[in-house]
């Protein structure tokens, strides 16, 4: 189960978990929409590390191909998301997500 000498799959999964939890923490803590986007990128990359580690353990390149697709989705998400942020800034002059309370009763 060793990926590198003395480094098992568990080490990589713990690293991936730590980065994912950091991403969750950032999305919940920061109110700036751009920062929230960056934390989402961090979470996606945590998942990518886990996928590559599993692909190494199982001797199957499919995991690496999945990482490609995650990168594709991340790039598309950033392109559309930042365009939405630009619209938001143009209308509200802020990127604070607490300012988006028009639907609040």
């Amino acid at each position: 189960m060793e990926i590198l000498p003395n480094i098992t799959i568990q080490h990589y999964l713990w690293l991936s978990t730590a980065l994912f939890a950091l991403g969750v923490f950032g999305v919940l803590l920061r109110r700036n929409a751009i920062l929230m986007f960056m934390c989402i990128e961090l979470m996606l990359n945590a998942v990518n590390i886990a996928l590559v580690a599993f692909s190494k353990v199982h001797g199957d390149t499919s995991g690496q191909v999945f990482v490609f697709f995650i990168m594709v989705v991340a790039a598309a998400e950033v392109a559309v998301g930042l365009a939405i942020l630009m619209m938001l800034y143009r209308n509200l002059h802020t990127t604070d997500t607490d300012a988006l309370n028009n639907l609040k009763g």
């Binding site: 189960m1 590198l4 000498p5 480094i7 568990q10 990589y12 713990w14 690293l15 978990t17 730590a18 980065l19 994912f20 939890a21 950091l22 991403g23 969750v24 923490f25 950032g26 919940l28 803590l29 920061r30 109110r31 700036n32 751009i34 920062l35 986007f37 960056m38 934390c39 990128e41 961090l42 990359n45 990518n48 590559v52 692909s55 190494k56 199982h58 001797g59 199957d60 390149t61 499919s62 690496q64 191909v65 490609f68 697709f69 990168m71 594709v72 989705v73 790039a75 598309a76 950033v78 392109a79 559309v80 930042l82 365009a83 939405i84 630009m86 619209m87 800034y89 990127t95 604070d96």
Partner: protein, 169 residues
């Protein structure tokens, strides 16, 4: 401790600490730069796991394209420390509690579970573009084409959204 072990721990600590710095730094530009450091250390991990092509693509796509896009938007919106967000204290506590509980759940799950080994260990050259290309174009042809449609849709959406409205309704 062998060299690869040292490299693993160094890259892991670099990734985690710069990830923490992304969240905690007040200036968004600094956050972007720390995120680039995180991405480089993740690319180093890919190199360690013999996913060479993936590491190169990761650096090109993330550090080269996505983070430049982020920097552009931050500089265009002129965000800096003065427009500081005020996070309520109960939100801070809730963020700490929920992220720690997610981490706890995942860590306990990982340490309890046994991972089934594959039949054969991965060949050293499996991460090169030659072998990845074969898998991508043979087994994953339909998702590949769908990804191109997704990109087209994203491009149209981004251009449409960021276009200035000419007629006010």
């Amino acid at each position: 401790m062998s060299l690869t072990e040292i490299a693993f721990y160094f890259l892991s600590f670099l990734a985690i600490f710069s990830g923490l710095a992304v969240i905690l730094s007040r200036n968004p530009v600094h956050s972007v730069l720390y995120l680039i450091v995180t991405f480089f250390s993740i690319a180093g991990h890919y190199f360690l796991m013999n996913a060479q092509f993936l590491a190169a693509v990761h650096i090109i796509v993330y550090a080269g394209a996505i983070m430049v896009l982020f920097l552009y938007v931050i500089m265009m919106l002129n965000l800096n420390e003065e427009q500081e967000e005020k996070t309520k204290s109960w939100v801070k506590i809730a963020a700490v509690v929920s992220s720690c509980s997610i981490m706890l759940i995942l860590v306990s799950l990982i340490s309890k579970s046994t991972i089934v080994m594959g039949k054969a260990p991965m060949a050293d050259d499996a991460g090169l573009v030659q072998n990845l290309g074969k898998v991508l174009y043979k087994d994953y042809l339909l998702p590949f084409e769908l990804a191109s449609v997704l990109f087209l849709a994203a491009m149209v959406g981004a251009v449409y959204l960021s276009k200035k409205e000419t007629s006010k309704s």
